[in-house]
């Protein structure tokens, strides 16, 4: 499923204008620990987190993740957004808490395998 479909389905707000939303999403990973994502997430996964500092962009870029979804209406800082645009990593936000967002991604068919 494409990132675009997720965004539409879950009414996610896209914070990075011009980002590639036609990227294929291969699964999902939820963690607020960066080394955990570096060690376990797979290429193409969408990353669900509440971390907003710019290192999340570096991690997403290094792992080839399809995008970052910030939960609980967290907003990325200016420098995080700038880096996300430069690295072409889509950042989206949702007011949903993690449990709900993940539940709905799972219902759409995404898995963490």
């Amino acid at each position: 499923m494409k990132l675009r479909d997720l965004i539409e389905n879950l009414s996610l707000e896209v914070k990075t204008p011009g980002a590639n939303l036609d990227r294929e999403v291969t699964g999902g990973y939820v963690s607020d620990l960066l080394s955990d994502v570096l060690g376990n997430a797979h290429e193409g996964f969408v990353w669900i987190t509440l971390q907003v500092h710019l290192n999340v962009v570096a991690v997403a870029s290094l792992k080839g993740l399809s995008g970052i979804i910030l939960v609980n209406s967290r907003t990325p800082g200016e420098d995080t957004l700038k880096k996300a645009l430069a690295e072409k990593i889509p950042i989206m936000t949702t007011p949903l808490p993690t449990f709900e967002l993940v539940g709905r991604l799972y219902a759409l068919g995404l898995r963490c395998r």
Binding site: S35, D36, H53, L62, K63, G64, D79
Partner: protein
């Protein structure tokens, strides 16, 4: 060793704004050299974890890289405070990170294990009170040289 390319990045302790920049630069350099994506990924994940360790725990240091036709070698050297127990530090989940570091999502004790996982060879030496040197190598020809 006769590197085709080598360079150095200087790293400052607690400089979270620029943390990750060195690994990011290394990524660009490797990609420009046409290194296969899978190797770039491994090298840069290991470099990132090493860079973050230095920035989180050390006063200051540097990351040197060497690229030859056979391998990528990265050496990080810092000016302290050094690691008291390396064996403990290598254990998954073991961390000496303060709370504010953990709240940023670092310090979960997986950095060194992640480096080991991604590299073909890794060595780490440290003198408590003085500093740490971490070195890792990734071979470009994975069939010939990968250690099991």
């Amino acid at each position: 060793m006769n590197p085709d390319s080598e360079g150095v990045f200087f790293l400052t302790g607690k400089d979270f704004t620029n943390a990750g920049a060195a690994s990011s630069n290394l990524k660009g350099i490797l990609e420009n050299k046409g290194v296969p994506q899978s190797i770039v990924r491994r090298a840069c994940i290991a470099a990132f974890e090493a860079e973050m360790n230095l920035i989180i725990y050390a006063v200051a240091g540097m990351m040197r890289y060497y690229i030859t036709t056979d391998m990528i070698k990265v050496v990080l050297q810092d000016m302290g405070p050094g690691i008291a127990d390396i064996e403990l530090a290598m254990k998954e989940g073991y961390s000496t990170a303060p709370d504010y570091i953990r709240e940023m999502g670092f310090g979960s004790g997986m950095g060194l294990p992640n480096i080991k996982k991604n590299a073909d060879k890794m060595s780490i030496n440290s003198v408590a009170g003085e500093g740490t040197t971490l070195e890792f190598v990734i071979y470009l020809d994975q069939n010939a040289n990968r250690n099991s």
